[in-house]
Subunit: 249 residues, 2 copies
């Protein structure tokens, strides 16, 4: 079995519709590259009890948990405190984090609010932040990152080499203006013939035309290729206009 | 208390990073308009047991549950079956759904795969689909919709009037190139002074410049305005370049 992951996006702004989340798709692609299977994602509000319950419900079930959001200096940044409570450890002033903030802000600019970002759950190790200094942290299998995409991505790059992946998931996609109902039966037969490949069928609508993207995914390149050719042959019986996408996710 | 909601996005394509979800933000904005508070979202794969567990874990905790994805004709469309199992009812051929598909496809084109879309959990009521005919359905407090955004949106419009909302959440946003650490302490004071308003602080980075969006949300227009002016005054002590956004979410 490949290692597994759960992403927890923390922030009222995503649930209110104000912010279109971009972190999930980015993390999903990275995990795919590494060979970690993202099994679930939750989006939750900035409420301490909800964060505690969600983290504790998820962490025994996955190899890795990644959270984004809520580790800044303002009153609504409560993630670090909630994670400490989830692990039943103290939220304590971390000397290494304080030194980083000291270097970044200098003496006077390191006010009480910014110093809050040096408070890290006891026993956690820091995740460095090359963009804006204030670190994230890792405690057991939980990686706690910032919500701003560029900062989150820089943090992820810091610990990426620590993640143990399994076989990389390979994929091939074919798209055509063919509706699902026309191909469903034959596609099901192909799926039965190719048990090592996961075949997904995703309808889309572009300029009022319904089409379908067929995505074959597998860790076995030969099995993937075999399924890909069967799907391509199926589509070519219906249209010459089949678009092949590169090895995507 | 306002009615609450949970959105469950069902689909491997979102967890693999292939598809950037657009349904969550859209549903979130609609619910906000109606006065329903979206409290949580989960993204889960096309696995029957996972769908059953997730739906049953969530449905007692929220006024409404909305699912997207997995109700088409292909082998990986397993949502309807999983929902029937979650409610411990039969998945049965629904006469009304069959008549709709019959009208849409005519005789011969209504093949076995398409007929699969007429199978609906016993006791559910249909959600009409003016875009591509195949209906979604509602069972108790669970609304099951398609994953294609244009179809999902058309389905949502069909039952929107049935949703009972509470007081509408109003909001005002102010953005400036001011970092959170500079304003955090005074912002916290404003939050304390305005308990009827939820003040969120969201850092952003544009062209390598860090800024902050401050979002005040409340169902009380007067309280919202008071908080808004306090936040504006705070920002104006630091910069003249404060961008005011309209009543958004």
């Amino acid at each position: 079995m490949s290692p597994t992951a759960c992403v927890i996006l923390i922030g009222n702004e995503i649930l209110s519709g104000r912010t279109q989340d971009k972190n999930l798709a980015w993390i999903a692609k990275e995990l795919n590259e590494i060979g970690v299977r993202l099994i679930e994602t939750r989006v939750i509000p900035d409420i301490t009890d909800t964060i505690i319950e969600t983290v504790n419900a998820c962490r025994p079930n996955f190899t890795y948990i990644f959270t984004t959001g809520g580790i800044g200096p303002t009153h609504d940044d409560i993630t670090s405190d909630a994670i400490a409570k989830a692990f039943d450890v103290k939220l304590e002033r971390n000397k290494e984090a304080e030194a980083i903030l000291q270097r970044h802000y200098g003496g006077e600019k390191l006010n009480a609010a910014r110093l809050k970002m040096a408070y890290i759950p006891a026993g956690a190790s820091l995740i460095l932040n090359p963009v804006s200094a204030a670190p994230g942290f890792r405690i057991e299998n939980v990686f706690v990152m910032a919500g701003v995409p560029s900062i989150m991505q820089a943090m992820f790059a810091e610990f990426r080499h620590e993640l143990k992946g399994g076989a990389k998931m390979l994929s091939k996609t074919l798209s055509a203006y063919v509706t699902e109902g026309v191909i469903a039966e034959r596609l099901s037969t192909i799926q039965d013939q190719c048990p090592a490949v996961e075949i997904g069928s995703y309808p889309f609508m572009r300029q009022h035309r319904l089409g379908t993207s067929l995505v074959a995914r597998s860790t076995d390149a030969a099995a993937l290729n075999a399924a890909h050719h069967k799907i391509k042959d199926l589509l070519l019986t219906l249209t010459q206009d089949v678009v092949e996408e590169d090895w995507a996710n």
